[in-house]
């Protein structure tokens, strides 16, 4: 088929190779959004272009994998595109220009906050989805209808809230999941979701643990207590997942030195279990 030069279809090939100017890019995207035939041609040309890239020999550095997996831990995800769908052209979510920047730390592994120690550790990354669990933790706060500033802020961000709901829904479909509540000695309430192999702990209304002190979570079974981590205290709210939880165990929190203890040094403030 012969097409004239001012027909935007003449740009499909160059577009597929990212070889057009931004205004031409917009023209092509408009075309394929309204012209199924052009969209089909572009889909094929894009697949050809991808093959050209795929064919380049090169083994990615081994460290890249761990670095990538660590980097995504703190990156929130976007929802599906709203409104009328565009055709193939904007499949990669529109032009990834500088303004569409990736909020990943350019130095590689994203800095992990105190709440997720060891998040850059590869072995740790291979455990059940930490990202999802953190989202669940946030969802529990919302679900408990405790309007902390954080919860309100997050509830306003529709995508995130949706994702949290989804994560919570996923968790609750675990046939072994049980939700338990308890009052915390000294003030506050605790909620946990316990499954056969992991647990999620959340508490609100906790008093300040004191200078150089912190709340620490424990998984307790017949053999004793094992630390599930020191919890960052956000205005009296804490949340933490316990990867090493097992069926029949209990969760407990104590106040410990800020750096954490290997074994509890104070009495538990709350103990949550299914029994």
């Amino acid at each position: 088929m012969t097409i004239s030069d001012d027909d935007p279809r003449s740009l499909l090939g160059a577009y597929a190779l990212d070889a057009v100017d931004p205004d031409e890019r917009a023209v092509v995207e408009q075309l394929v959004a309204s012209d199924p035939e052009a969209a089909a041609e572009l889909a094929q040309l894009a697949a050809v272009a991808a093959t050209l890239g795929d064919a380049v020999a090169g083994e990615p550095p081994a460290a890249l994998r761990a670095s990538v997996l660590a980097a995504i831990a703190d990156v929130p995800q976007l929802g599906p595109l709203a409104g009328p769908r565009h055709a193939v052209a904007d499949a990669p979510a529109g032009p990834p220009s500088a303004s569409d920047g990736v909020p990943a730390s350019p130095e590689g592994p994203a800095s992990s906050d105190a709440q997720t120690p060891g998040v850059t550790n590869l072995a740790d990354r291979r455990r059940p989805s930490r990202t999802r669990w953190l989202a669940v933790a946030a969802a529990v706060v919302i679900g408990a209808a405790v309007p902390t500033a954080l919860a309100v802020q997050q509830a306003q961000r529709a995508n995130e809230a949706e994702q949290q709901q989804q994560a919570l829904a996923d968790l609750l479909t675990d046939p072994s999941a049980v939700v338990v509540h308890g009052d915390v000695t000294g003030g506050g309430t605790a909620t946990a979701i316990l499954t056969d192999d992991r647990a999620l702990f959340s508490a609100t209304g906790l008093p300040d643990p004191g200078d150089d002190k912190a709340y620490q979570l424990w998984v307790v079974d017949a053999d004793g207590a094992a630390s599930a981590g020191v919890m960052a205290d956000d205005a009296g709210s804490v949340r933490q997942l316990a990867d090493d939880f097992t069926a029949g165990s209990a969760l407990a929190i104590t106040i410990e030195p800020a750096a954490g203890s290997t074994q509890p040094t104070t009495d538990p403030l709350v103990v949550l279990s299914t029994t």
């Binding site: 030069d5 740009l11 499909l12 090939g13 160059a14 190779l17 990212d18 070889a19 057009v20 969209a39 089909a40 889909a43 094929q44 040309l45 894009a46 697949a47 050809v48 272009a49 991808a50 093959t51 050209l52 890239g53 795929d54 064919a55 380049v56 020999a57 090169g58 083994e59 990615p60 890249l64 994998r65 670095s67 990538v68 997996l69 980097a71 995504i72 995800q77 976007l78 599906p80 055709a87 499949a91 990669p92 979510a93 990834p96 220009s97 500088a98 990736v102 990943a104 990354r125 291979r126 455990r127 059940p128 989805s129 990202t131 989202a135 994702q163 989804q166 994560a167 996923d170 192999d197």
Partner: protein
């Protein structure tokens, strides 16, 4: 349960029995499943890196951009639409665009600085073509590039691997713009037929 995929991740990418398509992995990634993301990385990591390397030539730069690409895959997975192409094409398209953006940003910076352009970013066609030829591991792709006319091949290689716009290609080759546009399009269509690409 979703957790069931973890065992597969633990065994690593060498296992031959990974049955999941990139499309279904990407769908799980869109739901925040980072174990599916790890498997997707194992499936497409080489292609993403290769795409970046083909354009950027420098392995360190390629790794840097590849990381950006993967973070973007994570961020925007929900926007993938299987009706419009494969997950592989979607991901590698994203990778190429990022790599080209990087080349152009570097280029623009150099232009602003009015410095003598580094030969590594202002590569002549012969250099680009030679490097590409030797870097292509897939014989089929190399053979199919060989079925293009030399002018088609020049235009496609300069645009895709050289990161040039078709206007820059036209400048490089002292050819009219419409001619270069059709060389690229015709060249890609011929490649499509040779490679048997459907979409």
């Amino acid at each position: 349960m979703r957790w069931g995929t973890l065992a597969r991740v633990e065994r690593g990418p060498d296992e031959a029995d990974v049955p999941r398509s990139a499309e279904s992995l990407l769908a799980d990634v869109a739901q925040g499943d980072d174990s599916a993301f790890a498997v997707l990385y194992d499936t497409l990591g080489r292609g993403v890196f290769g795409t970046c390397l083909g354009v950027l030539r420098d392995p360190d730069h390629a790794a840097e951009v590849a990381q950006e690409v993967w973070v973007e895959v994570w961020r925007t997975a929900a926007r993938f639409d299987a009706a419009r192409g494969s997950a592989r094409t979607w991901t590698l398209t994203l990778a190429h665009r990022r790599a080209v953006d990087r080349v152009r940003a570097v280029q623009a910076q150099r232009d602003r600085d009015q410095r003598v352009l580094d030969a590594s970013t202002e590569r002549e066609f012969d250099v680009v073509a030679d490097e590409v030829e030797s870097a292509l591991e897939q014989v089929r792709v190399r053979d199919c590039l060989g079925t293009l006319t030399s002018t088609q091949k020049q235009a496609v290689v300069l645009a895709y691997y050289g990161g040039r716009t078709y206007r820059e290609v036209a400048d490089d080759l002292a050819a009219p713009l419409p001619t270069v546009k059709s060389r690229i399009r015709d060249g890609l269509l011929r490649l499509r037929d040779c490679l048997g690409v459907t979409s």
